[in-house]
């Protein structure tokens, strides 16, 4: 019944199918049939993955879902069950180690999450209950509770504002941590609610939770005794979001509507999923190849075994009879166990130790990021932070960079730079001694020695002082240095300048401050009159008659004031494009040059115009404005019409340039990233104009860049349906950027020519949602791919007015596009969290907007400028290191196992190991693990300085270049070549096993030991050949592990070990060394194995551009270094 009536009242919102009803303060309402306390989730935030109880099974399950772990488990079980040539300990121990370490690591991370959740959930809040304020833990807030929030506190859940301590029933909030907009937003209380919240009897009906931050629809029914319930509509202006901060308002009361995981912030927060690096995918691919090799080896051996055994007398010669058990075994079962035995024998080809080494490399390697003093920011006294070490190498593979604007590219700190009055330039000088000498300041800066007339100057400055909606902050002494996230507090040290301003746009504050620097100070608005102090320290008063508000379509705003002398003046400021047509042309020409120059320098320019209104004109305008404001229908249109009418035939006084201060070295960083072949996309929730000028300032867009715009404005230009226009524009842009563009070579050699026309693309949130979720009827499924193609051919893309989830959507779209490029997101606020989580690599900036981004990022750095070193130097090196590590591991195990495989052909396919069990186990753990680990931590094939100076070097490893099938094949062939060489070289030597000068012979264990010695030395020396950067650690580890091998072999063969069943190696090594032939064959084989590598290195050097660069680079960069120090 009630609903029907409401629907009658507010017709046309049948779309809302599902809604929730909230009883404010849990008080039953008379109109409802029965009070059923509805069930909503509590206000607890849960981001952790495990509990104590499910940790073990869940974690184990997740770990064994990795194919490698599962494979090792299978091998281990086979070894336990079947009679195999090696003991289960050899594979069980490393597996256990890996599993335990990983579990501990993940458990610790989850514990940290638990702790963070606890902190949030136990945060004390004040809830009004039965007329009393009760302190509660944040997690205990229920939907319907009335919550009290004081200044500078964040809202614990989504609230409907009921009461504010401010007189005008408003409150200010910043949503910086939600959407990155750091200005103060005004929110309104629900009109006509009772002052006494205790007696308020109301229900709120609102939509079910949804993630869009800017949308909220609801209505409130206020029941008063013996009255028809009043209905108030609720919009986003009444909703205070969890995560936003209350500003400049002492205290507010609100009723909780969405709590816990249903708040808009939580809905915008995506679960953290395990990120896998591209290298890991390559490893898995290689793993499959090796698994195939392994299985085929086992199959070949098993088959040949049974073929061989079928010959007379070979299966069971008289000297080698089977046990009774073996004889009884069913032949197919025996075949199967034989197959498994071969698998176990060759399983070292896929070593557990590789995973351990990779994990260790990543873990230890990430310390270099933390330790890097270049990442240390003296301001916040912190360095870089590594949250995931799994992605180190991914930093060297980034193709797309998605960056947030506010707080990331810019400091969101507007600063007045200069103005231009009547064509003369006045650059602001920071020198305060010249405060009064406004006329003097321009002298040294401006080449033009002339100045505009004093009248003009003062007029211009008055315009700046009057034409705005800035409020002066009622600054108590304690509030001067209070938390000003948006940097509104003046940075000047003069007490006079400490005045705080609050405005919806930081530009306005900057302009007012700019005027202040030139001697005109805005003192505030009192009783509809604006007070300014002029240069002579006299206070001037102006009556504020009308404010013609800013809107993005008009792109200007005006005020109409009346001075004491009775003049009625209209001051207008706005974008050049919207001002120029409304002023006299001859004035425009003088100023246009300045405006354009400033714009290309990345400043935000505004033009200031004025107009003196005659009493008649004013009367007309006044009447028009009043009529329009009172209009009930089409109020907006009517207002617009009047505005447009009033703001005509003005005269231009000047222009201003305001700098949205970029982060340190933002432009250089962006340039370096683009030079490294990365595409930079700016995703921001901010306005298009602001974002565009930032892009210019960062040199993402350059003067020659042609901008392709796809925004609501361009869509509505044609006056046709949006969809049609969108279709048309998309096709048009596609033709321009994709079809007409010269074909771009794929891969590393992507042309980086400045000769071609460069394109920049701009799209806004609304249009994006049209592109992403087109209406099903049109042939619009192609939009997405068209859009992607255009974007891929643009040097830079700007997406403005994005909701956090839209940012993630974009990242996801690019991530899943053809070639699945590696994406990186960088941001500093909670609004960036979703995109940070979505991208392959998420970087958080330890900015001022809280720690949300940092917590959810994979890496956190203090400043944007650090991104350059992180990617170009660290990323590059990590990638090269790990790629080499992976290839090397597969290679060394291939030439380790290949002789063992070949040996099967000469031992009757009996799974006889060539090497002793100790060697089998120790090979990967001790003899060859440390050098590669040291290499993969310390290698710098190109000096860091050179990497930083030459961003193009980054392109050489793009697209996973070192882990493609080509290099993999090279390593595999090398491994096979060396394996063959080891085995057959020693075999030819053993054609006469009398190798000692006393005529005594060597047996099979000597054979294996010689092969193994050659193997260990070759594999280690191969790494030594590849090492371009020999620190003492490399020396120590490489020579040390060789020495250790020799020492161990002596030791192992020097004692009769009581715990061993067989003393296979007893004095085998020592005897081997006493044989000159063995020495000679070892030296020969090592040299021969390394010969192709040396040759390739020598011959490749002059040819490939890559190698030449390196050859040229190394000595050069060191010379360079020496000069510096």
């Amino acid at each position: 019944m009630l609903r029907r009536r409401i629907n009658l009242l507010f017709g046309g919102d049948e779309k809302r199918v599902d809604s929730r009803t909230i009883y404010v303060g849990h008080r039953p309402c008379p109109a409802t049939e029965a009070f059923i306390p509805p069930k909503f989730c509590d206000n607890r935030i849960v981001s952790s993955k495990y509990t104590i109880w499910n940790f073990l099974p869940k974690n184990l399950f997740e770990q064994f879902r990795r194919i490698a772990n599962f494979y090792f488990l299978i091998i281990f079980l086979v070894q336990v069950i079947v009679d195999t040539p090696t003991s289960p300990v050899t594979s069980g121990l490393p597996l256990f180690f890996v599993i335990t370490v990983t579990a501990i690591k993940q458990g610790y991370e989850d514990w940290l999450r638990h702790k963070a959740d606890y902190e949030v959930n136990k945060y004390p809040v004040i809830v009004l209950e039965d007329g009393r304020s009760i302190r509660k833990e944040s997690e205990k807030i229920k939907v319907g509770d009335i919550v009290e929030v004081v200044e500078d506190e964040t809202f614990p859940c989504d609230l409907i504002l009921l009461q504010s301590t401010r007189d005008d029933d408003t409150c200010f909030v910043t949503t910086a941590s939600l959407d990155g907009e750091s200005n103060h937003k005004t929110h309104y209380t629900v009109p006509d609610t009772e002052k006494d919240l205790q007696s308020l009897n109301a229900t709120i009906e609102c939509e079910q939770p949804q993630p869009d931050l800017y949308k909220f629809v609801g209505r409130m029914h206020i029941y008063k005794t013996d009255q028809e319930p009043a209905v108030r509509s609720l919009g986003p202006e009444n909703l205070l979001l969890k995560g936003a901060t209350l500003k400049n308002t002492k205290k507010i009361y609100g009723v909780a509507v969405y709590t816990g995981m249903e708040t808009k912030m939580a809905l915008n927060y995506q679960g953290k999923s395990q990120k896998r690096s591209a290298v890991e995918k390559s490893i898995n691919a290689f793993l499959l190849v090796y698994l195939c090799i392994l299985i085929s080896k086992a199959v070949v051996c098993t088959t040949l075994k049974y073929v061989w055994q079928s010959q007379d007398g070979q299966d069971e010669p008289w000297y080698n009879e089977k046990t009774q058990k073996e004889k009884d075994t069913y032949v197919y079962l025996k075949m199967f166990t034989d197959f498994l035995s071969f698998m176990v024998l060759f399983n070292f080809i896929i070593p557990v130790s590789m995973y351990v080494t990779v994990e260790m490399q990543k873990f230890l390697g990430s310390f270099f990021i933390t330790w890097d003093k270049d990442f240390f920011d003296p301001e916040i006294q912190e360095g870089a932070l590594v949250n995931t070490s799994d992605l180190n190498e991914e930093l060297g593979q980034v193709e797309y960079v998605f960056t947030d604007k506010t707080g990331t590219l810019t400091q969101n700190n507007m600063e007045y730079i200069e103005c231009c009055i009547d064509g003369f330039q006045y650059r602001n000088s920071d020198s305060m001694s010249e405060l009064d000498g406004f006329c003097v300041t321009d002298g040294p800066v401006s080449k033009l020695q002339q100045k505009a007339g004093r009248d003009k100057e003062e007029l211009f400055l008055r315009a700046l002082c009057l034409c705005h909606t800035v409020q002066v902050k009622e600054a108590g002494p304690d509030e001067i240095d209070s938390d000003q996230v948006d940097g509104l507090v003046s940075e000047l040290s003069q007490p006079d300048e400490q005045r705080g301003f609050i405005a919806s746009s930081p530009d306005e504050v900057a302009l007012v401050k700019g005027a202040m620097k030139h001697g005109f100070t805005f003192l505030g608005l009192e009783n509809k009159s604006m007070k300014i102090r002029n240069r002579e320290n006299n206070v001037e008063l102006y009556d504020l008659l009308h404010v013609l508000n800013f809107d993005p379509v008009r792109r200007r705003m005006s005020v109409i004031v009346r001075s004491k002398s009775g003049e009625t003046l209209l001051f207008c400021k706005g974008a050049d494009s919207s001002i120029f047509p409304r002023v006299r042309q001859e004035e425009v020409d003088r100023i246009r040059m300045h405006v354009e120059r400033n714009a290309t320098e990345g400043y935000r320019t505004l033009c200031v115009a004025y107009k003196q209104l005659s009493p008649e004109e004013f009367a007309v305008a006044d009447a028009g404005l009043r009529d329009a404001r009172l209009a009930l229908q089409d109020r907006e249109e009517k207002l617009m019409a009047v505005y447009n009418q009033v703001e005509t035939s003005m005269s231009l006084i000047g222009a201003t340039a305001v700098e949205d201060r970029l982060q340190e070295e933002a432009a250089e960083t962006m340039e370096a990233l683009q030079g490294a072949g990365m595409k930079v996309w700016v995703l921001t929730g901010d306005k298009m104009e602001t974002a565009k000028s930032t892009c210019y300032a960062c040199r993402l867009f350059q003067r020659g860049t042609e901008l392709l715009e796809l925004t609501v404005r361009t869509l509505e230009d044609g006056g046709r349906k949006r969809e049609e226009r969108l279709h048309e524009l998309l096709l048009d842009y596609h033709k321009k950027a994709v079809q007409d563009a010269p074909p771009v070579k794929a891969g590393v050699t992507r042309s980086w020519s400045t000769a071609n026309q460069e394109y920049g693309f701009i799209i806004d949130g609304a249009t994006l949602s049209l592109v992403m979720n087109p209406s099903p009827d049109t042939n619009s499924s192609r939009y997405k791919s068209l859009f992607l193609q255009i974007c891929q051919n643009c040097t830079a893309v700007l997406c403005c007015r994005m909701a956090p989830l839209q940012k993630a959507q974009i990242v996801k779209m690019v991530k899943n596009s053809k070639g699945s490029p590696i994406t990186l997101s960088i941001g500093d606020g909670a609004n960036d969290v979703s995109m940070i989580l979505e991208a392959h690599v998420g970087i958080g900036i330890k900015g001022k907007e809280g720690r949300q981004a940092v917590r959810n990022s994979d890496y956190a750095i203090p400043k944007l400028k650090h991104l350059k070193k992180l990617l170009l130097a660290h990323g590059h090196l990590y990638y090269v290191r790990i790629a080499h590590l992976v290839q090397y591991f597969f290679y060394k195990n291939l030439c380790f196992i290949l002789p063992q495989f070949l040996y099967q052909f000469f031992c009757g396919y009996s799974q006889q190991p060539l090497y002793d069990a100790a060697y089998l186990t120790m090979y990967n753990i001790c003899f060859t693990s440390m050098p590669i680990l040291a290499f993969s931590l310390l290698e710098q094939h190109i000096a860091i300085e050179y990497l930083l100076d030459n961003a193009t070097l980054y392109r050489e490893i793009a697209k996973n270049a070192m882990l493609k099938w080509g290099p993999f094949l090279y390593w595999t062939v090398l491994g096979i070549f060396q394996g063959l060489l080891f085995f057959f070289g020693v075999k030819y030597l053993f054609s006469n096993p009398a190798l000692q000068d006393n005529g005594q012979v060597f047996g099979n264990w000597s054979y294996g030991t010689i092969v193994f010695t050659v193997l260990v030395f070759t594999v280690t020396l191969k790494l030594a050949l590849d090492t371009r950067h020999w620190t003492w650690i490399n020396h120590f580890v490489i020579w040390g592990s060789l020495a250790f091998y020799v020492f161990f072999s002596f030791f192992w063969g020097g004692i009769i070990w009581p715990f061993l069943k067989q003393q296979r190696l007893y004095f085998v090594f020592a005897n081997m060394l006493s044989s000159v032939s063995a020495w000679l064959v070892i030296i020969l084989l090592i040299l021969l194995s390394l010969l192709p590598d040396i040759l390739l290195m020598v011959f490749r050097k002059p040819r490939g551009p890559h190698a030449r660069q390196i050859a040229a680079v190394t000595p050069l960069s060191y010379k360079h270094l020496n000069e510096r120090y």
């Binding site: 000297y319 330790w371 006294q381 031992c907 069943k1061 067989q1062 020969l1084 020598v1098 030449r1108 060191y1118």
Partner: protein, 370 residues
């Protein structure tokens, strides 16, 4: 050999602006340490391999390897080696009868005449060789009990399970147990020199010094007990099924070569690497006077007590006489390999020299225009 630049990257003594701006606060613990290691600035040696630098290395390798190879080749060629197959597969061969009417119990003898074209100087080593005998089969290799062989009392009476099915015979533990021991090579070879006048003389064969010293003295040991009377020591055990006599009768005349420390036995227990192998059997000491060769050229006769069946698995038995050099027995492989590798390196050196000379004159990095 390599162009190398040993540049000590110095400890970063220069203070960047940011560090200085940190002021006193920068000494806080959170600031990363400015050590060479943590900043990845460890002094490093940066070898650069170019055609010019590797060039001498190739020549040096070539110049070293070729002489070594020639030396090895000559040495190997100077080694006298004589090999005779006495399996008796061929119906004409003297051992054909023995090889066919084989039985473990009846001893069969045959004699194979041969002549040496060249005299054998210095010590001559006598080997027996087996072919297609898989001493390296896994089931075979592991079928032994090293602690039993090391004289462990408990293993003597309770051999390891690995020895199956050669562990227990007639309810007594086998000593030495296992397939390897069981299949001990038991042909007896004797060598006669046939004078031109038809009379023959037995050439003395030394049966000690054929096993590794460490094996003989440490790894293999008779069980503790009465050393003179091994019969008592081994009384609770039985001989391996294929053996004619128990282990304590392997060499009853020499207590130092009897039981587990019998050298023939030890040599056999060292399993061969490949299915075709040779094992040292006896040593023919050179004559004391040093005037006449150990084995002068002429006719010889090899007398064989043919006990060891190999035809069932298509095996072959050989007797090999060989002299030994410092590099061991005759094996041309090493010499040829060294000469080849040395030549290849030398050749590559020449090629590199040409490249270097032609293109690398102006610039140290050979800059080949493409």
């Amino acid at each position: 050999m390599m162009a190398s630049s040993y540049t000590a990257k110095e400890e970063d003594g220069h203070h960047s602006g940011s560090a200085a701006a940190g002021g006193p606060g920068s000494s806080k613990s959170k600031k990363p340490d400015n050590t060479a290691f943590k900043q990845q600035r460890l002094p490093a040696w940066q070898p650069i391999l170019t055609a010019g630098t590797v060039l001498p290395a190739f020549f040096v390798i070539g110049l070293i390897f070729i002489p070594i190879g020639i030396g090895l080749f000559v040495t190997s060629n100077n080694i006298r080696e004589f090999e005779i197959d006495y399996t008796g597969v061929d119906t004409n061969s003297p051992c054909n009868r023995c090889s066919q009417t084989y039985s473990w119990n009846i001893s069969c003898t045959c004699s194979v005449p041969f002549s040496l074209e060249q005299p054998f100087e210095s010590n001559v080593f006598m080997y027996y060789g087996l072919s297609n005998f898989y001493q390296n089969h896994r089931r075979y290799v592991k079928s032994r009990d090293d602690s039993q062989l090391n004289g462990d009392k408990s293993s003597l009476t309770n051999p390891s399970k690995e020895c199956e099915p050669y562990r227990i015979s007639e309810k007594k533990p086998i000593a030495p147990c296992g397939a390897i021991a069981n299949s001990l090579f038991n042909d007896t070879l004797e060598l006669y020199y046939i004078y031109p006048n038809g009379s023959r003389t037995l050439i003395p064969l030394v049966k000690k010094g054929i096993a590794w010293w460490t094996d003989k003295h440490v790894k293999f040991r008779n069980p503790p007990g009465n050393n003179d009377n091994l019969t008592i020591t081994f009384q609770d055990t039985t001989k391996p099924v294929n053996w004619h006599k128990p282990v304590y009768e392997l060499d009853p005349n020499d207590p130092d070569n009897n039981g587990f420390i019998n050298e023939d036995f030890i040599v056999w227990m060292r399993t061969a690497a490949l299915p075709t192998f040779r094992k040292l059997y006896r040593i023919i000491q050179k004559n004391k006077d040093n005037m006449t060769p150990t084995l002068p050229r002429g006719n010889y006769s090899l007398e064989i007590a043919y006990n060891y069946p190999v035809r069932s698995f298509d095996g072959r038995k050989r007797m090999i006489l060989s002299t030994i050099s410092w590099m061991g027995g005759k094996n041309p492989f090493l010499g040829i390999a060294y000469i080849t590798v040395g030549s290849v390196c030398f050749f590559l050196g020449v090629v590199l020299l040409i490249i270097h000379h032609k293109y690398g004159n102006r610039n140290n990095n050979a800059d080949i225009p493409n």
